[in-house]
Amino acid sequence: MIAGPPSTSLRERDGRRSKSERFTLVLAGNPNAGKTTLFNALTGLRAKTANFPGTTIECKIGRANLDGQQIMVVDLPGLYSLDSSSPEEQVAAQAVRGRLSDHSKADAVLLIVDATNLERNLFLVSQILELQIPTLVALNMIDMAEEHGLQIDPAKLQLELGCPVVPISARYGIGLDKLQHEIARLAATATEPVGFVPPKPACTGCSGCPFQARYAWTEDVSSRCVAHAYETRGRRTENIDQVLTHPVVGVAVFFAVMFGVFFLIFQVAKIPMNLIDGFFAYTAAFAARHLPEGLWSSLLVNGVIRGVGGILVFLPQIGILFFFLSLIEDTGYFARAAFVMDRLMRRIGLPGKAFVPLLSAHACALPAIMSTRVIEDRRDRLVTILVAPLMTCSARIPVYTMLIALLFARSPIKASLTFTGAYAVGVMAALVMAWVFRHTILPGESKPLVLELPHYRLPSLRTATLQMLDRASVFIRSAGTTILCISVGLWFLASFPRVKAPPPTASADTRVAAARDQLEHSIAGRLGHSLEPVLKPLGFDWQIGIGVITSFAAREVIVSTLAVVYGVGSDVAEQHPNSLYDTLRDAQRSNGKPVFNTANCFSLLVFYILAAQCLPTQAVTRRETGTWKWPLLQIAYMTGLAYFAAFVVFQTLRHFGFA
């Protein structure tokens, strides 16, 4: 029997553990074995998500109070084997070996095993038992195994493994009392498994595939512990799969499902988003009315309140997306979606799983980038994160609407064609850029598909709700501060240096004029002026330049900025957009030519399809990639691409006399 260093250290700790120091239990198991459901059942709402030190790999940490003992439960990424090459599985394997982080150690392993697939799951069990760490096996989905005619003898299995085995159904709460009791007992005594004999290679002479010996053992054990009375395992799943993995029907079903989710994000999220917008607009107006006019009130109203509103307004989309993604994932359907999309996506060098984030990016790039975690390979994930913001998100729509109103006020057909075209340009650009990244900085083909297609199951609303709350809190904690800083920073750029404010008694017109003067003389205004030579080849003047700068907070800000610089006033523009469009259409340069013409409207449209005018996206990219390198690259290539494309569009149209 091997007593490795980890178990030695565990043993040393055992005797000295003080009452304040909590017993740490790591939850390990194959993907799809029901780890998350069990974790939620054990810890409920008292869980939080954290990154493993020095990585962007997440784990959930929760507390459970069992028989008066405080126990810390850590949910690890799913793993098939302790010697895997994927970073997630390596982190999980390390945690199982006892090295949770620099500061904390795992005291015991709760190993969750899928009872409907014992032979395969026992592979990991044998590896973990060999480590001689206190281990408890939870035989999950026992209800499903029985339903399929698999009769497992837990007592026999317990003898074979030499550690406690508790049959449970995490979903329906079967056996959880017993499991909690066993965990508490393990925490009190921390006994190591006894009597487990590690499987040895059949022939000692050959180089011996280590997998082979282990699988021979797992089959042996399962044949002794499982009686197949009548086996119907997987029959229903296979029938459903006939349809859902069909190369044509499967793709069609997938598009229908994703369209449904996408529609919900788009339509349903609007309601809470409008409420949030309305609430913060009301709060801002209230604060502006009741605070003495001046710098601090402007900071509070236009910097902080708008900033907080700018963070919270993302929550409905993030919540809805992750709620439905979790429901769909729980049924086992996503594995099928990745399966059918794999062949199509491979052509541009991305795996099938990249499709969900890319489609969700049409609602908002932030949750889309957060959802790239489903992609295992780091390079595949990076390419997806880099190109996702090119998709037309909902923040671009006000900009498209304004420009298309300027271009085709009287032709709804041309207007809708242009709208559709704008979406298509975004998608094409993303696909082309994915291909380009695959052939330059992130070379190589995407990892070939190896994917388990789990049995179909009914999804759990509880898991989906917890996932939604978790993602929302991760977003606020990790990106919230950055977004608030961006908002305050841009407020600063647009408010300094100060010009003299009009007296509070001034008329509305004077106030609008004063707001324009302030913006023109601010740092943002001066930047707009000094950028004019750079933006001139795109057909943009300095007013648009200011809009480009201020819209780094969010794309739609350019609309209100143009309202201010063209003297409409941002409030008027919000309530009567047509008055803004009319003013913009009538706006003239000093030489009497209109400011907005076909050429520069198209060029501005193309610029806003492609440009990275959304710093919150970079904040989230930073959180998901762990460095500033990738968000900076994202902003650089998108700006470059937007500049180049707008330049080509403007110069071509001008050449043909549209300016």
């Binding site: 395969r120 592979f123 699988y215 994917l451 789990p454």
Partner: protein
Amino acid sequence: MTNTLPISETLVRLHELQPKVCAVVRRIEAEDDSMDRLKSLGICVGRQVELVKRGDPLIVRVFGSRLGISARLADRVLVEPCRGGCECPDGTKVPL
């Protein structure tokens, strides 16, 4: 269990296997990360597999689970089909 059998004519590539025919994995060509992943999911020498659905990617049944696998990976797995309800050499009974 030997994986050096000189019976190349009876070995076929996994993606060429007839659907619903069970087979035993005999040899795996070109080891790499992806192959290790395949092995930790159950596709390793000596295991009994069954092709559920052909195509790229294809679906293979191994133990109680179904795996979706790229055809270019399946191409590197050599299997020996079990004919006529045979008892596979590793002692597993083959349901037909």
